[in-house]
Symmetry: C2
Subunit: 250 residues, 2 copies
Amino acid sequence: MQRYFISRNNWKENDVQIVDDDYHHIVNVMRMSNDDQLIANREDGKSAICEIVNITENVVEAKVMEWLDESTESPISITIVQGLPKGDKWEFILQKGTELGASHFIPFQAERSVVKWEPKKVEKKLPRWQKIVKEASEQSHRTKIPTIDTVFSTRDLIEASNNYDWKFFAYEETTRGEKSQKLHHFLSKISEGQSVLICVGPEGGFTENEAENFQEADFEAIRLGPRILRTETAPLYVLANLSYYFEEMR
Amino acid sequence: MQRYFISRNNWKENDVQIVDDDYHHIVNVMRMSNDDQLIANREDGKSAICEIVNITENVVEAKVMEWLDESTESPISITIVQGLPKGDKWEFILQKGTELGASHFIPFQAERSVVKWEPKKVEKKLPRWQKIVKEASEQSHRTKIPTIDTVFSTRDLIEASNNYDWKFFAYEETTRGEKSQKLHHFLSKISEGQSVLICVGPEGGFTENEAENFQEADFEAIRLGPRILRTETAPLYVLANLSYYFEEMR
């Protein structure tokens, strides 16, 4: 059944009003009509099977038939901090990361990032990125749409990191004589409901300087398996590992 | 250090002859010269740090300085059978699947595959695909290059499946009243050195008919986590899970 994310303002208890792009999709793409069913998601993650009761010139009106008890959201909250990569890899990470259960994405202006994103550019691109994660959420049957931040500096990142229970950064090198640990080493200590920040470097990885800043702020250095992963593969590997541990092993 | 896969014929004990594309890469891209070092891989997975001793018009001659003891290969042998997907997803799966540790790839003409590949087309494309997995192997520091098969029918697949210790197919539906199991359910039964066949459907998944054929041939139906994954994300999720279980948890 087709799934739509409906903003808070368009719910009135068991009545839903569907407008704009979703209206277009229902009426012109899916060619639905009265009595047809769809799944509507609320912003708080609740979802319901709804039936169309009326279609006006710009609103599809539907009513809840049955509230669903879905569990497609990860029991931990995962934020992916991605060192700005080249080309269209960022959009790829948004799409695949959404399928794999990330709840928040932060683009990070890393020292080795070849591209430079001005906050203005990010603001302009944000609607397109939000569309990518919304569509990936619908397709993968998620009940919450991940959120996307503006571009962070190291300072922003370290400040924001105080809000997280766990903070990791992927690092192949040795810092201050210490080897990075396997992510597995930490997983049994993470509890359901906790928040986890995962930082992945751009092509070429994090610099020694960045690694030192992260370590001073109590980030843990982790290795991602025995092979060297491309920057865009690394967040997917972490997300799949977290899914395996927190969703599949239980 | 740059890594090159050298075919059997170009090794003579501790002497290596590097030709063709790799010659070009060493001489014109990396601009290496005598005494520079590189890693050379043998087809059997052994690798060594080598030093360049001579560069002729079309051969780089190098000699082994130190044999390496690398462990970047999965302790199990994983074959990805991919229902032919649309667009360039197949090449994406080859690249990412190599990074994530697959040892063999089989393109599968599934009932819901929109595209149809003739064996002739596959033969023509093979050199390009082999280049993709070779480059991904070098980049991810693998010591063995995955192999790629021609396109398989259901019959081919079931015949080939006899050579595997474990056979799985990703399936969201119920077959004969039985729900698919989590992959996790099986992992503790798989031993190091065993071979595992993982079949992933194209867009839209496997048909009921295909699922029945697989089950008759003793394939196990598995679910891949709580979310619905796109066809090209599914093999990466499985590979990352297998890497976590067999490479990270130990």
